[in-house]
Amino acid sequence: MTDTMKHSLMFVAVGALILLEGLTDWSFFSGSWNSSLVILNMGLISAIMALGVNLQWGFAGLFNVGIMGFTALGGLAVVLTATPPTPGAWSAGGPGVLMAMVMGALTVVSAVAVIRVMPKGSLRSLVVVSILVVGFFIYRALFDPSIGAIEDISPAISGNLGGLGWPVILSWPVGGLLAAGAAWLIGKTALGLRSDYLAIATLGIAEIIIAILKNEDWLSRGVKNVVGLPRPVPYEVDLQNDPAYVEWFASFGLDPVLGSTLYVKLGYALLFTVVLVVLLWMAQMALKSPWGRMMRAIRDNEVAAEAMGKHVTKRHLQIFVLGSAICGIAGAMMTTLDGQLTPGTYNPLRFTFLIWVMVIVGGSGNNFGSVLGGFLIWFLWIKVEPMSLELITLLTSWMSEDSILRTHLMENAAHMRLFTMGLILLLVLRFSPRGLIPEK
């Protein structure tokens, strides 16, 4: 059997798992097409995130554990582009916030300039510190009243700046741009550090981005969440009230409620598939191009690549920005799918480390591997819970119904998913370190 055959079969197998979820309710499958499509949609998004991480890790060997932050920035982009602007918010606080941002940027720039220009010494440190302190107070003096003014505008329903009111699809590239901008800033400071320092740095930045989203109510409404984001697909209720659609659903033997939910989810799946295919094509082209070869050369031996005249830090920055942009796009898509931005739900285990499991299990350095890993691991992430429930039911079937141990095990079965993910990661790293679809 050729490799291509084997790898196609793997894709078929994962596809079959998702299909079975809809077809049968045997064992841990639910037999609901709805749940099958939910898994498919998040699987598509996970595959895109895994592509982004694979670009950084598989192509360039950059150890980025701040994926959660870029995903969240993508989510913020949806709020900032697609929601309607809050009436009066811009005139109330917009100029103040902008001025504060400009002053903040000026402070940092002038501090950096002083470091560049002045000779090293205690005088320089003093000047830099005083610039930063004075700048911080000017920033706060401009910033605090402006955000207060914004947050006072009908705090129960908005209290934030709102967005531009553009179509929500446009927020996906904007999410990518936002994440790319953040990645550029981070890369400028943190790239060039040793691999595990970069890991800690990105881990920290992701936490900071989440902290900002949770606390800056004027921007993202913080933990009050932004709900009812516009959608690129029709609403179920509208479809159910449209006789033409109801008739169309009936011709498949579907009642209007089920028909409309499946229709909407299929719409999302179609949009996401288009994005995934485009990005996958681009990643494949990049991998095969001279640029991709150069990246792998840098990954395999930085010193040699540098000796050949390749600018390692610049190339690293480039690919760090690109990979993070893909994560930002995926994050924006996810927030669009959810229809809400809930900063409180971002958790590094789910949004950073799980993506890493996908990339490693799928096969780092191989784009198709990452896509496969994305679908497979996402399926398991959802399905390990019912699986472990089944397993525990089976294992404890000899215990009495009201045994304390049994109820405890049943209650906590859901937490087996983290354990299982760790186990899968360790098994793959041990027995098949190159993943399911290895790099060629």
């Binding site: 060997g61 150890f63 911080f136 605090d144 400071t189 943190a190 550090l193 040793r194 691999s195 595990d196 320092y197 890991a199 800690i200 740095a201 881990l203 920290g204 930045i205 936490e207 900071i208 902290a211 949770k214 606390n215 958790n347 590094p348 285990l349 480390f353 890493w356 499991v357 490693i360 209650e411 906590n412 937490h415 087996m416 998913r417 983290l418 354990f419 299982t420 993910m421 760790g422 186990l423 990661l425 360790l426 790293l429 041990r430 370190p433």
Partner: protein
Amino acid sequence: MDFLNALVALTNFVMIPAVAYGSQLALGALGVTLIYSILRFSNFAHGDTMAFGTMMTILVTWLLQSWGVSFGPLPTALLALPFGILATMALVLVTDRTVYRFYRDQKAKPVVFVMVSLGVMFMMNGLVRFIIGPGDQRFADGERFIIKARAFKEMTGLREGLAIKTTQGITVVTAVVVVALLFWFLNRTRTGKSMRAYSDNEDLALLSGINPERVVMYTWLIVATLATIAGVLYGLDKSFKPFTYFQLLLPIFAAAIVGGLGSPQGAIAGGFIIAFSEVTITYAWKKVIRYIMPDNLDPDGLVQLLSTDYKFAVSFAILIIVLLFKPTGLFKGKSV
């Protein structure tokens, strides 16, 4: 103008919490730094090792409490601590045998070890949540305060109270004892010296007949002890929640890196630097400033530089500054 009240307020709200938190971070960072200097990788599972040790201690504490055993004014958890340490030692040794040793024999790159530690982190995290659940657990019992705020006010006649929690006292005392023992062990005993030799130069240590597996085993045993103690102290002081312990990873790593990865003295200094900066930058200074400033200059706002939710940002900013200007940390650590 009232310096005495300002000083008391400062001690009560900034100094004491920061010293306690700093001791906990220092113990955590010591574990990270030891793993780094002997096994040469950043252990992402450290937060979850702490969580596991704390969980085992809590379970034994509950058992002791159900038997009616108590430790007088001190928390029962201190009696349970040795059992927690033993359980954690068993866990890390099993992990080392089944997981890490394979990669050590292969002489895998550090980044592979980090990946592997991610897997271990997931498994330990899942295990802890599976056994004790994801919720908040408070397990401190016994006397709550060494000095109560009201008693202090009555004693001194000052307007500001000073409260020292028992857990804060225990934290500092335990940390001092543990650090003293650790340094005695590293500097005076044969095993400790062999560990330092192995950390300085692996090949030379091997040539002089040091058994690497023994060194690694002792390292894990010490790390398990440090992690459990740090975790239990943090849990007694605040509360135990698996996710919080996972998140402690960031300040702990910041402390270890700021001090210089691989340097035990650095880990302690780093722990206190991170703790003090987090507390001072996120503290609302109004209360202290009110006493030193003349009445008419009373500040309007809370005089809080950043809201408490940005404490990660503080540890992180310090981390970045140190990495940019002194990449090996304040105390010369290793830079592999």
